[in-house]
Symmetry: C2
Subunit: 327 residues, 2 copies
Amino acid sequence: MKIRIGIAGYGNLGRGVEAAVTNSEDMELVGVFTRRDPSALKTITGAPAFSFNDAKNMQDKIDVMVICGGSANDLPTQTPELAQFFNVIDSFDTHAKIPEHFANVDAACKKSGKVGIISVGWDPGLFSLNRLYGQAVLPNGQDYTFWGKGVSQGHSDAVRRIPGVKDAKQYTIPVDEALESVRAGENPQLTTRQKHTRECFVVAEEGADLAAIEEAIKTMPNYFADYDTTVHFISEEEMARDHSGIPHGGRVFRTGVTGLKGEMKHVIEYSIKLDSNPEFTSSVLTAYARAAYRLASKGESGCKTVLDIAPALIHSESPEELRKKLL
Amino acid sequence: MKIRIGIAGYGNLGRGVEAAVTNSEDMELVGVFTRRDPSALKTITGAPAFSFNDAKNMQDKIDVMVICGGSANDLPTQTPELAQFFNVIDSFDTHAKIPEHFANVDAACKKSGKVGIISVGWDPGLFSLNRLYGQAVLPNGQDYTFWGKGVSQGHSDAVRRIPGVKDAKQYTIPVDEALESVRAGENPQLTTRQKHTRECFVVAEEGADLAAIEEAIKTMPNYFADYDTTVHFISEEEMARDHSGIPHGGRVFRTGVTGLKGEMKHVIEYSIKLDSNPEFTSSVLTAYARAAYRLASKGESGCKTVLDIAPALIHSESPEELRKKLL
């Protein structure tokens, strides 16, 4: 019997889950739930679209609802709401609000007897796991996280809000010297500026004051002021040709020492390089949907995160096979 | 209340666990169990030494016994034996025999109501975890494992057995071109020779036939014949000065594609660089000893591996703290 998946929300993330579920032999896609007019929605696989409001009438048809909304406005309400009816999973990534979101989803899940898994993706997600494993194994040490090279949606949006900007794309880039220093086990103290640079590609409105736009970007507090930022003005054609993808990546280091006197140094480095940030996040969500199903089948309920999930639960093969092939 | 740890076997691994436990605030070391004369054993921290045979009389004094014997001769009997009396953990690394060892330890643990965790370290261990996470997230893809640069104890021993060899150290070295090809997402098919080279440092007996030794190394089946091997003859002084450490390392890749047509490529790379192979393995063992204690406290029993253990169980902080700090 296959795991029956529903997708709530149909943007980049929802389409990614649709593809990932379609490529998973132990899963089937029941349909996509949208707040738009479902009859107007064409899914990439031809999977049926339903109205968001009809979801609760389909409880017996769906094992896990993968919620693909945004962290700012959708997930804080959608995940607890849908957890009344379904095992749920989301990619909530507003780091500071995770404890609050966890509490809300946990309360809803405990009431309904369902399993919820929140903040699934790569950061939070696989990067969090690597921080945990690194700290547990090398308690006497230091963490470093670098992001990029990749597109930051939030920073791109911030540039687009500047008057005179028609379109913009912002890349976050880790600084090579910082990476090398961490990798060499030098335990550097790095400022924001020393860790990442920012590169912006901007399509300006006709007649816009380019110098003013560049100045507005480089001095923008929180987003750019603490970084070395490069601004390139390009044409709409160049934007479409060279910057249409959503690549990303990053790396988590744990460096530490062992021995009674800390005489032995060790470096752990986990890195990812992604052609498509949303498709990779979708793939992580899909794997953890499997865990949600299995935990619910064992009678568990409540909210979990990747930190609480035994790794074998996310893999399609049996524990016996995994022991034989992966250990 | 601290987790009370016993160490069974006192070689490099046992000393590493002794240091790691001493550096862990939530643990205390009860003592070391040895098959040698305990009164003749001086531990690095001054922890008491007991006879192996007295272990079973100390069941109420020890929460987890970390078994630090060798995989070839010690662990297959010691781990099931000690699992009659203790929660146990070992670093059994004979990959092909893991299912058999698992079954033996599982039977002993189920009978005694204890928890056993086997094959803990980095390979098997952290590398196995990374293979699992990589496969689960990118099911349409390929695994690659590279070892080194580091000392292979087995290969060093094999060289030492050649007539005329007084001492030897063998380094396994990954081939840069292979790493680059995998990292670029080229999905290469790599032969044994294309993945690693081997470098041997040999101290010859006086008057030994060096050409014959080199020939014997390079043509040795299984160990060297399938590799490009370099042999250096050095003095005893050089051996002591330049090759007394036990560094190691390696990397696990998962490369794969997502999207309905597999149009997006992704690369995950996990790498470790270790000054001391046994001390790092000891650190992993010590972290998983914490998980064995917690699982046993929850009333669980039976054999587990790293693949079955929820990550949060190996970290000293509470799930709430971990969610706040690591997600």
